[in-house]
């Protein structure tokens, strides 16, 4: 969620019972602005927090002029001092996927690979890397996975300029109530995967400036998003069931939208059994 609209946004996304204490809210108002100044971000998003066993990581993201470029991520313990996280690599993500269990709350904690095939072990040893992974890498990989899988925006909120960069759409006035209830009105804010697979007929209906991302309609498994109207129908809240704790809110016919993650940072692999 945008740092500028944090208090209002937290009120709208609080339907799941998770939020921030007044102390944190107050300090974030100031420290996120300072982040913007120090790192020269154009936009700062408060991404959410990952609860470890012994502590909580608060995560913020900074965006540059091209909003679709890889974002810089920072974490903090107390929302006052922030540390930059290394960018996520595919290898990091692949290794972190094998880890299970809660985050410990200590970035230098090293996880051991509990069960590992002989082949993988050989491969790792050949590369000269140790079969340990630090919690910091796991954190980076988890944030990247969550953003890729369930970081969403409403359709039309961002436009692709002819030069290829992505910016906010100033003419975006919000989705209408009927549109807001459909999953096809929301896009994953990440590199599109399914766009090329659409038939030519479907592509003809698309508007290349606004429809350059994957929509939520074809997410697997079907039904991994809940769409609810809260507060008497004035706010549309989408919650992800794959990453429990991801909440997206949008007030129809206004420009207010955003997503935030409050959770333990674990993927819900039992989802197919639970639906």
């Amino acid at each position: 969620m945008e740092a500028a609209s944090l208090p209002a946004a937290l009120e709208l996304a609080a339907g799941g019972g998770a939020g921030l204490s007044p102390e944190k809210r107050a300090v974030l108002g100031a420290s996120l602005l300072l982040l913007q100044r120090d790192y020269r971000f154009e936009r700062v998003w408060f991404w959410g927090c990952i609860q470890g066993v012994r502590g909580v990581y608060y995560i913020a993201e900074g965006l540059g002029p091209d909003r679709a470029a890889p974002r810089s991520r920072l974490y903090s313990w107390n929302c006052v001092e922030w540390s930059l996280l290394p960018p996520a690599t595919e290898e990091m993500v692949a290794r972190a996927e094998q880890l299970k269990g809660r985050f410990q709350g200590d970035p230098s904690f090293e996880y051991e690979y509990a069960e590992i095939n002989a082949e993988d072990a050989e491969r790792l040893f050949e590369d000269g890397k140790e079969p340990m992974i630090k919690e910091e890498s796991r954190l980076v990989a988890t944030i990247e996975q969550i953003d890729r899988a369930v970081g969403i925006i409403p359709r039309g909120a961002f436009v692709k300029t002819p030069l290829g960069s992505v910016r906010e759409n100033r003419n975006f006035e919000g989705l209408s109530l009927t549109e807001a209830k459909k999953l096809s009105s929301y896009f994953h804010f990440t590199e599109p995967v399914n766009l090329k697979n659409k038939t030519l007929l479907e592509k003809a209906d698309l508007d290349p400036s606004t429809d350059f991302l994957d929509s939520l309609e074809h997410d697997i498994p079907q039904g991994s998003w809940t769409v609810q109207l809260e507060k008497g129908g004035t706010v549309v809240v989408l919650r992800s069931l794959l990453w429990l704790g991801l909440t997206f809110y949008h007030v129809p016919m206004t420009k207010q939208y955003g997503y935030v993650y409050f959770g333990t940072g674990e993927k819900n692999l039992d989802l197919p059994f639970m639906l």
């Binding site: 799941g16 019972g17 609810q228 507060k231 008497g232 069931l241 059994f273």
Partner: protein, 551 residues
């Protein structure tokens, strides 16, 4: 405006009708070639489109008016969108002679219901006000919400207030002694807001009578069926010897897992629905399945092992499990009622507690530092599904006699191990952790202002269960999806092994038919044996004869 349309150059009216001049002017202004070009251009711009009836001149005029009125930044970059917007607005006004019916959005209806919460019920006089100010079962939801908010837990203030009013409505309708906001469980289509309630004594009789009537009716039917079957017994295929395990009865309302009654509603403002009491079979099954709630109480729960009930029962079972595992209080707040002689009873310790009038609250640092300063005041549920052990094999004499006559001795364990759970008011330090994670995480709400900090506990077994303590105040709450945490993936129960249909022995075992050689060999062997036997008999006869001769 231009009813006669643009005049082509060869037509007589061409050039005559200019805005500002009437067509009956005899004087034709003398156009210089530039003016003529301008007029041509303008006429072209005024040409109406054949598809939409608009013309470019008006459109450009409107667009420029809009741009000058609104003065957007970088207008040249967004000029296409402005153009589209103007067209859109134009289109609606001109072409539609129908008026849009004023849309009644569903949001308006929801707002109506919300507003109803805020109106005072009719007939409340001043007398009732005075009564309410005294002892009221209504909990102070806003106060609890304030303390939880210090830790960042809780719903928005608006929603908390709505829940407050909804609880007030519930209390005015039902005869309730104590009431508590238990928490919120999220679902796929709708969410559940749950209130934990205890009735006044003696108010709950109606429900139990209905259930008993249903059970007796079922028994009557069963007897009739048995008689029919006895008549046809000779022609029936063999009956199965399967005996289902005995049904363990649910606990009485007001004790054990059914100590509290729970009311749910989807949103504050909607009517409260009472959840049925929970049976041990439902709890045992709920432990094996993991399903999301849909938000509709009558939705079926499709699972394996098949859940005995619908979503209302599953919800009640999960609430019972969560309450048993996560209802905690600071040590010393509750104490056992002073009754001697309870310790020798079957089924273990005491199950009632009362508030301790001499409770001395501990400091926040102590509450956060160690887990032994907190105790469970929710009775834990045994593996059986009840809080108090029930031995299903203690039958009355009549039943035992019947069984001896009808059935053969089946292989049943006659004695089940009595299950014992941790006694009430055990401290949290006795809770098992999961792998290397403790069962609870404790922290103070703020490190900057320790004097006014609140001690907060989060459960790691049931993510979403929280408790706070500050001085003499404490409370528990749950916000979540209603499932237990397990680091391993959920593995659904496998179907049980196929039952043996018949005991396998040599009579039913297949063997190979003997070949011709084997049959001949057998025949030869038999003949030899026969011949040998005859020889022996002859010898014996001979011996006997000899013996007789000897005599």
């Amino acid at each position: 405006q231009h009813g006669h349309g643009p005049y082509q150059p060869h037509e007589p009216g061409y050039g005559l009708y200019q805005p500002g001049y009437s067509p009956y002017d005899d004087q034709i202004p003398d156009p210089t070639s530039q003016m003529l070009a301008i007029q041509n251009a303008k006429a072209y711009l005024l040409k109406s489109s054949t598809t939409s009836g608009l013309n470019l001149y008006d459109h450009l005029a409107n667009m420029l008016t809009k741009v000058l009125d609104e003065q957007p930044i970088n207008a040249v970059d967004v000029i296409e969108n402005i153009s589209k917007d103007v067209k859109w607005a134009q289109f609606q006004k001109k072409m539609d002679t129908l008026r849009d019916e004023h849309e009644i959005l569903p949001t308006f209806e929801a707002a109506e219901k919300c507003k109803a919460l805020f109106l005072k019920a009719n007939g409340e006089g001043d007398e009732e006000l005075e009564e309410e100010i005294g002892e009221t079962p209504l909990p102070n939801v806003m106060e609890t919400a304030f303390y939880f908010e210090q830790a960042g837990i809780g719903l928005s203030k608006d929603e908390s207030y709505h829940i407050f009013l909804a609880l007030k409505k519930l209390i005015s309708v039902q005869p309730i002694q104590t009431c508590r906001f238990w928490g919120k469980i999220l679902g796929l289509e709708m969410n559940y807001i749950i209130a934990e309630v205890q009735y006044h004594e003696g108010e709950e009789e109606e429900e139990t009578e209905e259930e008993e009537v249903i059970e007796e009716g079922a028994k009557g039917m069963g007897e009739v069926e048995d008689e029919d079957e006895n008549k046809e017994k000779e022609n029936e295929p063999p009956k199965s010897t399967y005996k289902p395990p005995p049904v363990i009865p649910k606990e009485e309302n007001g004790t054990g897992a059914n100590k509290y009654v729970y009311f749910v509603c989807n949103e504050p403002g909607k009517p409260w629905v009472k959840l049925p009491p929970v049976t041990p079979a439902q709890i045992v099954c709920a432990r094996k399945i993991k399903k999301f709630f849909t938000g509709r109480l009558d939705a079926p729960v499709v699972s394996f092992p098949p859940f005995p009930g619908n979503e209302a029962n599953y919800l009640r079972a999960q609430i019972a499990r969560i309450s048993a595992g996560t209802q905690i209080s600071p040590i010393g707040f509750y104490q056992f009622a002073e009754e001697e002689g309870d310790e020798e009873e079957e089924g273990g310790g005491r199950d009632t507690y009362e508030e301790n009038p001499d409770f001395q609250p501990l400091s926040v640092a102590e509450m956060v530092g160690s887990l032994s300063t907190w105790v469970h005041h929710g009775q834990s549920i045994l593996k059986q599904g009840r809080c108090v052990w029930f031995n299903p094999f203690q039958r009355s004499e009549e039943e035992e006699e019947e069984e001896d006559v009808e059935e053969e001795k089946a292989e049943e364990p006659n004695e089940l191990q009595q299950e014992i759970g941790p006694p009430l008011l055990t401290p949290l330090s006795e809770d098992e952790g999961i792998q290397n994670i403790p069962a609870w995480t404790a922290e103070a709400s703020t490190n900057l202002i320790p004097q006014y900090a609140v001690a907060i506990l989060q459960s790691n077994q049931w993510p979403g269960a929280y408790a706070f303590a500050s001085g003499k105040k404490f409370d528990n709450i749950y916000f979540g999806w209603g499932h237990k945490y397990s680091p391993e993936n959920h593995t659904p129960a496998l179907p049980p092994a196929v039952q043996a249909e018949y005991p396998s022995g040599p009579e039913v075992a297949e063997t190979r038919d003997p070949t011709l050689e084997e049959e001949l060999a057998l025949k030869a062997a038999k003949e030899e044996a026969l011949a040998a036997a005859e020889e022996e008999e002859e010898e014996e006869d001979v011996e006997d004869d000899e013996e007789e001769d000897d005599d």
